[in-house]
């Protein structure tokens, strides 16, 4: 159940990748053939590789932005998205494989390798469900949010269907049949659809209001191929089809193909294409939706404040080290492959003994591609923490040795994170190996930031107000917010200083800045001023990525289920007892 409202904010955005599925067929008039599907993502080349590797599609010769799956083209372009395909008018696309159990086992083993595969489990936890009378089915999403159904339908192997959400499926299928041809039929006598050659167009009743329009979602549109576009357009006009773009040859297209755009039922954007001579393809195809240089206009709440509401995660940022490796280039970014490898290393080593069953990245829950950012620290510009003070060096030199878990006397020896108290005002925002969600809800003058990990909620007031007095200090402090343009600036005061981030003292001053830099990107920057520890202030940043379409924060009842605390202390006492016994024996 999704209750997101889609706030489409004109066409300005940071580059992401969009794919279009173009399904090509021989055309008889009034019998269009599916021609392509378009999907949004962040690197066309990466997407081509993914569809080649996992869905047996083939790269279209000479192109780094399209694959052909059977007769169906999937084209990718860099553009912006406002969410995955699920819940939009094109919910998902389907592929048929000869042995679904084997396929899912293969995909499950992929984990975060490369761009990763996100598995969707049924409510009983299974990956595959056998529908009596139909076939076995399973669901995954690609790394960019396109939902994919995998089926085991011996009749057709390869690209199998396009599945629509519709408020009136019968009317929708009739419309496709009437406008684009195909054959009204029933898949195994169980699912009504329209059949275009081997490919099914299916539709499911959508009960959650209206499905989202496809434009701007990861399946941006589907395309059907016709022999003579002008003739087809004339026929469509007689059927009162809603044209969004009249037939034309796009400028700077890869060929002289002619295309039009029409709007289907429930807001499905449909390209109708007359193939052309493709001899001019080397004129680098630049996706016409990738006007990425334009300024992003931050959406507003109904009461006029910048709108940060939604569910965000720090999964993409997981693995970004705080400091840049010594010797690494000034602004060096990682390649996507390096970033994926880094995130996997990060999730492997972050907590001792946490096997892959614990990690959201390896479980396939993570939709976001790993960040290619080299390091979090942006100031000093060398990406390194500033020099520490002499006083702090002395403090460290004289500090008592840290007590290892197996020697823990009381919970205090294990630290505030293990005790489920807090990761501290700096640490609480940092990425974690699981439960990385962050939910923001706003009311006039107030912003609640809820972190899933441990479960901690801060209410940041942007109204000028009297803060806590000197006698009141807390773990996360008193958050004073203000708007500087579209940036939320938060000064954290009245910290109790009982947690430390890399040595920070009780007098640390923390300032945080949140800026929405795209529909899916919330830039988070933090500045630490602590002259007792560091000789100059330092700042770090990373992005939270919006994941409204499928992520929901769960209640992280950390303390309530802290069996680790009982087990650790009990093990430490067992070690104590054994050592006492050995000591007695030696005496």
């Amino acid at each position: 159940m999704k209750c997101r409202s889609i706030k489409v904010s004109s066409t300005k955005l940071i580059a992401k990748l969009i794919a279009a599925i173009v399904i090509a067929f021989p055309f008889a008039l009034n019998a269009a053939t599916p021609n392509h599907i378009q999907i949004a993502l962040s690197s066309t080349n990466e997407a081509v590789g993914w569809y080649e590797e996992y869905l047996d599609c083939e790269r279209v010769v000479g192109r780094n932005d399209a694959v052909v799956c059977g007769e169906t083209n999937i084209e990718f372009f860099v553009g912006r998205t406002v969410g995955g395909s699920q819940g939009s008018a094109i919910d998902h696309i389907g592929f048929s494989v000869p042995d679904l159990d084997a396929k899912m086992a293969e995909l499950e083993s992929v984990g975060v390798r490369g761009s990763g595969v996100r598995l969707i489990r049924f409510d009983d936890g299974a990956l595959v469900r056998d529908i009596p009378g139909l076939f076995k089915i399973a669901f995954i999403t690609d790394p960019w949010g396109t939902k994919i159904e995998l089926v085991q339908d011996e009749a057709v192997i390869g690209f199998h269907h396009i599945h629509l959400n519709s408020v009136d499926p019968v009317a929708a299928l009739d419309w496709y049949n009437q406008v684009l041809g195909g054959e009204r039929a029933s898949l195994k006598g169980m699912l009504d659809g329209v059949r275009f050659g081997d490919i099914w167009l299916l539709a499911t009743q959508f009960n959650d209001g209206r499905p989202g329009i496809t434009q701007g979602r990861t399946i941006d549109h589907i395309g059907f191929q016709v022999a003579e576009l002008d003739d087809a357009a004339a026929e469509m006009n007689q059927l009162n089809v809603d044209f969004r773009q009249d037939p034309m040859v796009p400028e700077r297209g890869r060929s002289d193909a002619k295309q039009a755009f029409i709007l289907g039922p429930d807001g499905v954007m449909i390209a109708v294409v007359e193939p052309g001579w493709e001899g001019i393809e080397e004129e680098a195809f630049s996706a016409d939706n990738s006007d990425s240089e334009e300024l992003y206009i931050v959406p507003r709440t109904p009461w006029g404040e910048p709108d940060f509401q939604g569910i965000w995660t720090a999964d993409a940022a997981h693995g970004i080290p705080l400091q840049r490796g010594v010797g690494a280039g000034e602004a060096g970014e990682l390649t996507p492959e390096e970033a994926a490898a880094r995130r996997e290393r990060g999730t492997l080593n972050s907590i001792w003994g946490y096997d892959r069953e614990w990690r959201d990245t390896t479980l396939g829950y993570v939709r976001t591609a790993p960040s290619t950012q080299a390091a979090m620290i942006i100031d000093p510009p060398n990406g390194q923490l500033p020099e520490t003070t002499e006083a702090y060096k002395q403090l460290v030199a004289n500090a008592p040795p840290r007590i290892p878990p197996q020697r823990a006397r009381t919970p205090v020896d294990l630290g505030t994170y293990v005790r489920c108290i807090t990761r501290g005002p700096v640490g609480m925002m940092m990425p974690s190996i699981y439960n990385n969600g962050l939910q923001i809800i706003q009311s006039p003058g107030n912003i609640a930031i809820q972190k899933e990990m441990i479960h901690e909620t801060r209410i940041i007031s942007t109204e000028s107000r009297e803060g806590y007095g000197d006698g009141l200090k807390t773990w996360l402090g008193d958050s004073h917010g203000r708007w500087e343009g579209d940036t939320l600036v938060v000064e954290v005061r009245n910290l109790n200083g009982r947690t430390s981030y890399l040595g920070s003292s009780a007098d640390m001053k923390l300032t945080q800045r949140f800026t929405r830099t795209g529909p899916d990107t919330l830039r988070y920057e933090f500045t630490v001023e602590d002259p007792a520890v560091w000789t100059e202030p330092w700042s770090g940043m990373f992005n939270f990525i919006r994941d409204d379409s499928q992520y929901e924060l769960v209640e992280y009842a950390c303390h309530e289920g802290n069996y680790g605390m009982t087990n650790t202390l009990s093990a430490a006492r067992t070690i104590d007892a054994r050592e006492a016994e050995e000591a007695d024996y030696q005496e």
Partner: protein, 276 residues
């Protein structure tokens, strides 16, 4: 004779209906013609910091003063208070009366509040601490100070899916009925209690809450409790919630974990040996 048996069997339910009708009409009188301030969407504006008064957190029902932990003196004692249960009675099934008594007996260590566990619904509402309501654009959030409890209220979702998993604070769906925010909360673990007296429910608990502004600074809070595992019929609590009027009123994080560790882990701790 046979016919007479049926009304007898149904009497408790009818009595409940009558009681609820009664309460609705008296609420109507109380609300009178109060027209609340409107939020951006035209619904009542109930944003703000609120708090219950009274002693419901000690015991939902009428209760006399009674002893607490002796070492705490009068501070630890239970103050007397008037109940908030409509009709006064909590209609426990027979087995549950015994369980409630067992909870009462074990309360110094058995009460989830003692252990700093998430308080659940409706208990979070009338813990003696302020909480804040934020009316967002398609969700609301209630943030409580104790144990940093928090609820997201998903607004206007038709045919909501069942809660994906049971949680202490449950899953909440809300909508407006006139000036009343109606919240359906369910999907609970069944481990939370209702008060320090050991009143309780199971994981089949469904709480239907109604928040109705009755003045600029007060909400009427009503919660209907349904749990066929524990009770013989639905029942209801009612109390006002008051706006905290201090200009700097805030919900202050109350991270209580450290105060529960002695109870939870004391038997596993190593005490520093004294030198003498």
């Amino acid at each position: 004779m046979i016919i007479r048996l049926k009304p007898t069997v149904f009497l408790p339910f009818k009595a409940f209906l009558a009681a609820s009708l009664l309460s609705i009409s008296s609420i109507a009188q109380e609300i009178g013609n109060y027209e609340p301030e409107q939020a951006w969407d035209g619904n009542p504006d109930i944003n703000g910091v609120w708090q219950a008064m009274g002693t419901a957190h000690w015991d939902l029902q009428d209760h006399e003063a009674s002893a607490g932990l002796p070492e705490m003196g009068a501070i630890g004692a239970v103050p007397p208070g008037q109940g908030v249960v409509v009709g006064g009675e909590i209609p426990y099934q027979d087995w549950a009366i015994e369980q409630k008594q067992a909870n009462w007996d074990s309360r110094p260590t058995g009460d989830p509040e003692t252990k700093c566990y998430l308080p659940g619904v409706p208990r979070a509402t009338y813990l003696p601490y302020p909480f804040q309501i934020l009316q967002g654009t398609d969700k609301m959030m209630i943030v409580y100070g104790f144990a940093e409890a928090n609820r997201t209220i998903h607004m206007n979702v038709e045919n909501p899916e069942p809660a994906p998993l049971d949680t202490w604070m449950g899953r909440s769906h809300g909508h407006w009925e006139g000036n009343t925010l109606v919240v359906d909360a369910r999907g609970f673990t069944g481990e939370a209690w209702f008060d320090r007296a050991g009143n309780f429910a199971s994981s089949s608990l469904i709480v239907t809450e109604r928040y109705t502004p009755i003045s600029a600074d007060a909400l009427l809070y009503e919660a209907t409790i349904e749990d066929p595992t524990v009770f013989t019929r639905p029942w209801q609590i009612r109390m006002p919630l008051y706006r905290r009027l201090e200009p700097n009123a805030r919900v202050i994080e109350y991270k209580c974990v450290e105060f529960s560790e002695e109870i939870l882990y004391g038997h596993l701790m190593k005490r520093e040996e004294s030198e003498d």
